[in-house]
Structures are given as C-alpha cells and as structure tokens.
C-alpha cells in the first residue's frame, strides 16, 4: 500500500516536474524586469508624482492611449498631456485605460470597491443612469454655471445627461451613425447613393454583381449589428418609450418587420460578419475589401488614422428610409466622492476648450459640442458630409441598446438581433422574446 501511494505521488510529481520549464522561467524574469524599467520611465507621465502638494486625480477611458491609432483617442491623450503640463505642481491626472469591451466591467469593479475614478468617460443612457442613480456621479450644474455652459453650442447637447433637471455629465463631441461608402466601388459597379430602402437593396445588388462585398458589418461586436437594427426599427416606427411603459408591445409587428429587413440585408454582408469584431469590420472597409460600412462617425478618426489615403474615396450617406439619425456623445462624469473636484472640473474644461474641440473637428472628424471655430478645409472630408447628414435630419435618437430601461435590456436586444441574423431565431420569435424579457424585467 505504501509503495502504491509512493508510486502515485511520484507519478504526479513526475508529471509536474516538466512544468519546471516555466518555473525556472523565474530566473529569466529578472532580466526582463530590468529592461522594463525603461518602459516605465517613458510612461512617466502616468507615474504618480511624489510631491505631496500635487492633487492627484484619475481619469478612466476605454482605449489604450499608448497603443491606439484612433485619432480621437490620440486627441484625448494630448489633453491629458496638456493638463499635466499646464497644472504641473498643482494637479496631476493619471489615466486608467482598458479596452472598450472591458470598460464597464472594470469601471463597475472600481465603483464596487469604492475606488471610483475621479473623472470617467461614459455613454449617455442607461450606462450613465447606472452611475447617477446610486449617486456615484456628481451633479455638475454649479460648476457649469460660471460661464462654462455658455461655450456649448446649445443646452440641447446636455439633454441626454440631464436627470431631474440636473446635469451629471459633460459631452465632449457628437457622433452620428451613418453609412460610409467607397465612392470608387460605387462608380465601378454603377451603383447610386440610395435614398430609400429599395434603392439600398438595388445598390447592394449591383455591388455584388460587380464582384464587391457590398456591406461590412460586425456581428461579433453585437451593438454594431444592432445599430442597423435600430435604424430599421426606426423606419418601421417602433416607439421605445411606449414599449417600456407598457402602452405598446414589441409584438405589434414592427420589430418583426424590421428584423425581416435585417435578414434581407444580411445577404450582402461579408461572409465573416458573424464573428468579425467591430475593428475587423471597420478594417475591411478602409482596406477596401467592402463597399459600405454602417458605423458611427467616430470611425472617421479610426479610418483616416489607419489608412490616410482612403479619405478621398470615402463618401457618406444617411441610412436610407429614416428621417432621424442615431447620435451619440462621449461624455465625462465626475465621481461624487472625488477628493479634488476642482482638479476634475479643470480637466473636464480642458476637454471642452477650444484647442481640444478644434482638434475634435479638424483631426478627429467628430462634431464639436462647443461654439469653436474650426477650419472646415483642414477637417476630414467626411466630417462635412456627416454635418450635412446631421443638419438635414429631422432629429436624433439614441442607440437602441442605450435607449432601453437597463443595460441588460440593451444587451438582450443586441443578442436577439444577432440571433436573427444567424438564423437561430425567426423575426417573430425575436419579437416574442423581447416582449417576454420586457414583461419580466423592465415594466
């Protein structure tokens, strides 16, 4: 018996031995660690200053400021650098960055641990509500009152950030969801810019016949597909507010019709749409592998940043068959437990000052929120097209997944739309499923 035990132990032991490789990897690591100090030095702007008098704040953002090619993110990085230079010795901000997918889980984790970042970026809608309701985000009206608010284009830019008459977040820029298209491909295929649904299908058909992939989209990142579904729902007249309060239902045929259109359109998606993530889908567009990209105008920064030659070929049209556009702003909220609100406000003001807003328009290609004057000739060509779409539209509405009672309802909608696209659900089943979810969780 003893021998048997020993044998067993030794065999486990033997198997474990080979793990040695990595274990001894430890001897390798110190060398790696030494050279890493260089890395930390170059990133010294982010190391907390040792000076006790400097007020330290943190800012949380959803892109990696060091690795990003996105022009908007680069602009934010500039703001952080400017802030730390201008207020050197007084305030210092340290960014906390994640990628977009991980952003809210990480932010929630920090909130749960009582370690809320002083300033954090957040999408308006239920995401912001999540932080306003438990009192995590602070009301900003008293800080805005000193004339800061007057620099904004209108009070309307605050509408999505206002709860019970109080403003809880400051918008930085506005993006509208549009259809970007490759003008060369359209020309070669003899396709016309569509103004209604049947023209859209017609254009896609021509593009496909000419051998192009008509539409690139991401169903791997569910909200991208759901954005198109949102436009289709709008075109069928879905009334989210009425559905949320129970005076209307998802099963009134409108969602079903929208989802049916989605299935029809999906014939023209790239083959890998089911698994492609947002960035892969966008890359398909600027690498000229597909003719149409339906995306928010924040993608301009990404497209021009990754492939500067593409700007001249890129056109923009409004999603056909709808009168309003989907608009969204990046907004900054401030922690109600911040030890140094003055520093936070100074930082937020720097994000909306003329330098930053000018950059937003001229380089980033997003619509500025303040009355800044920018040089339209310098700004990306696409921005002018988006501005046209924006000013021709009869109003704006939010992303569908961000206009529902809870973030989870939004995620459920996204998932259902992807399921319809994949053929796991019929449009009618999706409508029933949404209705059941609302009945159980939202009303």
């Amino acid at each position: 018996m003893k021998r048997k035990l020993l044998a067993t132990l030794l065999s486990v032991a033997m198997a474990t031995t080979l793990l040695a490789g990595c274990g001894s990897g430890s001897t390798e690591a110190p060398a790696a660690a030494d050279s890493s100090s260089e890395t930390t030095d170059t990133a010294s702007t982010e190391a907390p200053a040792a000076d006790g008098e400097v007020q330290e704040i943190t800012w949380m953002f959803w892109d990696d400021l060091n690795a990003t090619e996105d022009l908007i993110s680069k602009g934010y990085a500039d703001v952080i650098d400017r802030f730390n230079t201008e207020y050197a010795g007084q305030y210092h901000v340290t960014p906390i960055t994640t990628n977009l997918e991980e952003y809210y889980p990480k932010l929630n984790a920090l909130v749960a641990s009582g370690d809320v970042p002083d300033v954090f970026i957040v999408s308006p809608g239920p995401n912001l509500t999540d932080y306003v309701e438990p009192g995590v985000a602070a009301p900003l009206d008293s800080y805005l009152a000193d004339g800061w608010k007057d620099t904004f284009t209108s009070d309307a830019v605050f509408s999505q950030q206002t709860y019970d008459g109080q403003i809880y977040a400051v918008p930085l820029n506005i993006a509208a969801a549009c259809c970007f298209y490759n003008t060369e491909m359209f020309e070669a295929a003899g396709a016309k810019v569509p103004t209604n649904w049947s023209e859209m299908l017609d254009a896609c058909e021509k593009l496909q016949a000419a051998g192009y992939t008509p539409i690139t989209i991401s169903a791997g990142t569910a909200w991208c597909l759901s954005m198109v579904a949102g436009y289709l729902c709008e075109s069928k007249g879905v009334d989210l507010a009425a559905i949320a309060d129970g005076s209307d239902t998802w099963e009134n045929g409108k969602l079903e019709a929208a989802a049916t259109d989605l299935v029809e359109l999906s014939k023209y998606f790239q083959k890998t749409a089911a698994g492609d993530t947002n960035d892969v889908a966008t890359a398909n567009f600027y690498n000229e592998e597909a003719a149409i990209l339906i995306q928010g105008s924040w993608a301009i920064g990404q497209i021009n940043g990754e492939n500067p030659d593409f700007e001249s070929k890129c056109g923009v049209f409004q999603f056909p068959g709808v009168e309003r556009v989907i608009a969204k702003s990046d907004s900054l909220a401030m922690s109600s437990t911040s030890k140094c609100p003055e520093a936070c406000v100074a930082l937020m003001k720097m994000f909306t000052d003329d330098t930053a807003q000018k950059y937003t328009a001229e380089v980033g290609g997003k619509i500025p929120v303040t009355n800044v004057e920018y040089d339209a000739n310098v700004a990306p060509a696409q921005l002018a097209y988006v501005m046209d779409v924006f000013s021709n539209a009869k109003g704006t509405f939010g992303f569908y997944n961000e206009s529902m009672p809870s973030t989870e309802a939004g995620a459920h909608f996204d998932d259902d739309m992807v399921a319809v696209f994949l053929g796991d659900m019929t449009p009618a089943e999706a409508a029933t499923d949404m209705e059941e979810f609302y009945a159980a969780n939202c009303r």
């Binding site: 033997m14 909130v111 749960a112 791997g220 890998t272 698994g275």
Partner: protein, 294 residues
C-alpha cells in the same frame, strides 16, 4: 518522542496558518457565494434575499443552456480524447528508445505555456484570413469559418476549441501514464512474453489494468480542468458568436462582471461547484474499485 509529536501546541502552530487562510479565502467565500445565489445582489447595493428567484431565472436563460451544453460537451470530449491520446502517446513513447525525451518534451511544451497566449495564437490561426485558411487557399480550398460557424448541435467552434485544448494538455495525461507505465516491473512483461503474449495483448491485459488507478487520477484532473476552462475560450471567441461558445465559467464572468449581477453569477457558480463535486464523485467511484499490488 511520542509526546513531542503529540504536543497540541506544536500541532496548532503548524496547521494554523494553512487552516486560517483556507477557511477565510476559500471556505467562508464558498458559503457566502451560496448565500448570494439566493439574493438579488447588484454590487452597488447590499444583497437582498429573494429565495429561489435566481434559480428560477436559470431555467429561462438561453445562454445558460448553451453554456451548460458546451461545458458538458467539453467535459466528455476532453476526458475521452485525453485518455485515448495520452495513453496512446505514452504507450508509444515507452516503447521507443531513441528520441523519447525529445518527443516527450515537445509534446509537453504547451502545458507550461500560458493558455491566454496560446488562445490568442490559435485565434489567429483559425481566423478567416490568416493561418489555416490562408494555407488551404494556396491549394484552392476555401476553408470553413472555424470559429464563427453556428450550425449543428455541437457547433464547429466548440470542436476547434476542444482540439486546441487537447493539443495543449495531451502532454500532461501522457506524462502521468508514462510515469505509471515505467513503474510496472519489467519481469511481468517478460513473463507474459514467455507465455506467448504479443505486445498488444500485454498492453491490454497487463498495462491497462495496472495503470487503472492513474487513469482515475488523470481523468478527474481533466474533468475538473475542463469545467474550470476559461482562458482559451475567452481569448479565442469570447463566447461568441452570439454566446454560442459560452461555457459556465465565461457565462459567470459575463453575468457577474459585465452585467454586475453578482447574485445571479453566484448561482451559476453554485451550479459549477455542484457539477465539479458530482463529476469527481462519479469518476472516483468508477475508477477506484480494484487495486492491484505492483
């Protein structure tokens, strides 16, 4: 001497650090987790006891159904495939002399590498435009969408992930079996050859029965490992497309840390725990019946 080894003070001194750690970092949290599983708990507000509500919600959770199916598929697939492949490799490697260590070390290599890194590597290899499909395209073959296809009861991505898992961990099972096989006395084999046994027969009638206890150990290691499985899936598909490759561990992460539903995630944790305990119990019962003196 006996008195020294029975000293209460010494015993407590030696066992206490491990016991305290274990109790506070493992045992108490498990109890808490079970309590949370009966609560509505969103992280920002304290837990509110709601009875079986979370457990009822499990029944309506479509993603959970995928996750449970995938976890069980994974459990069976990895136990069976690792048993066969591991035993086969061990049988071959114990029978050759030249290059045994080399091949053994090569096959064991992925076990020591980070599955996060390997998951990313395989994600690229199976992505639509790179790796395998690029290779097949050279011969004019259009490869399938390895990680995106959603047709069939067990979808293609799950088979792919299962294969990668086998690739990574086959070496571990192999080592366990090799250690056990090389522990079997040579004289037993010699005796069997004199009696006219072929190598195949002696493998069937001597090796297999004698390594049965180790099979039990290896299979239960595999079983627990496959139920805990997270890194590879997280880095290969993140549970997509549309949650079809979600397993219990990734679903728990999603519900708990993406949707902030700590209570519901704890419920999934309890299911996972129960599954682990049941599986280990069944495997132990199945393999630990007979003992041979070696």
């Amino acid at each position: 001497m006996d008195k020294l080894l029975r000293s209460k003070k010494n015993i407590i001194l030696f066992i206490a650090p491990a016991f305290i750690l274990f109790t506070f970092v493992l045992f108490v949290p498990i109890c808490q987790s079970i309590y949370y599983s009966f609560c509505d708990y969103k992280g920002l507000t304290p837990p509110v006891f709601t009875g079986l509500k979370n457990y009822k919600a499990l029944l309506h959770d479509k993603t959970l159904r995928f996750a449970l199916k995938n976890s069980i598929f994974f459990l069976i697939f990895s136990c069976v495939s690792q048993l066969i492949v591991g035993l086969f490799l061990a049988a071959i490697l114990t029978n050759i002399k030249a290059g045994r260590n080399l091949f053994k070390n090569i096959i064991y290599l992925p076990c020591v590498l980070s599955s996060a890194a390997l998951g990313l590597m395989w994600m690229f290899i199976f992505s639509p435009k790179l790796g395998i499909n690029q290779f097949l395209a050279q011969y004019g073959i259009e490869g399938p969408l390895w990680l995106m296809d959603t047709s069939g009861f067990i979808i293609l991505p799950m088979w792919v992930i299962g294969f990668v898992c086998l690739w990574q961990y086959a070496g571990q099972s192999m080592m366990l079996y090799m250690a056990q096989i090389s522990g079997i006395s040579k004289s037993i084999y010699e005796a069997s050859y004199i009696d006219g046994c072929t190598k195949t027969k002696s493998f069937r009638y001597i090796t297999i029965p004698l390594i049965k206890p180790m099979v039990g150990t290896a299979v239960s290691l595999n079983a627990i490992g496959s139920l805990k499985f997270f890194d590879l899936i997280f880095n290969m598909t993140e549970g997509g497309p549309n949650h079809r490759t979600e397993v219990l561990a990734t679903h728990l992460y999603l519900q708990g840390f993406k949707h902030n539903k700590y209570g519901y995630a704890s419920t999934i944790g309890v299911i996972l725990l129960a599954l682990c305990l049941i599986t280990t119990g069944v495997i132990n019962k199945f393999f630990k019946t007979e003992n041979y003196e070696m």
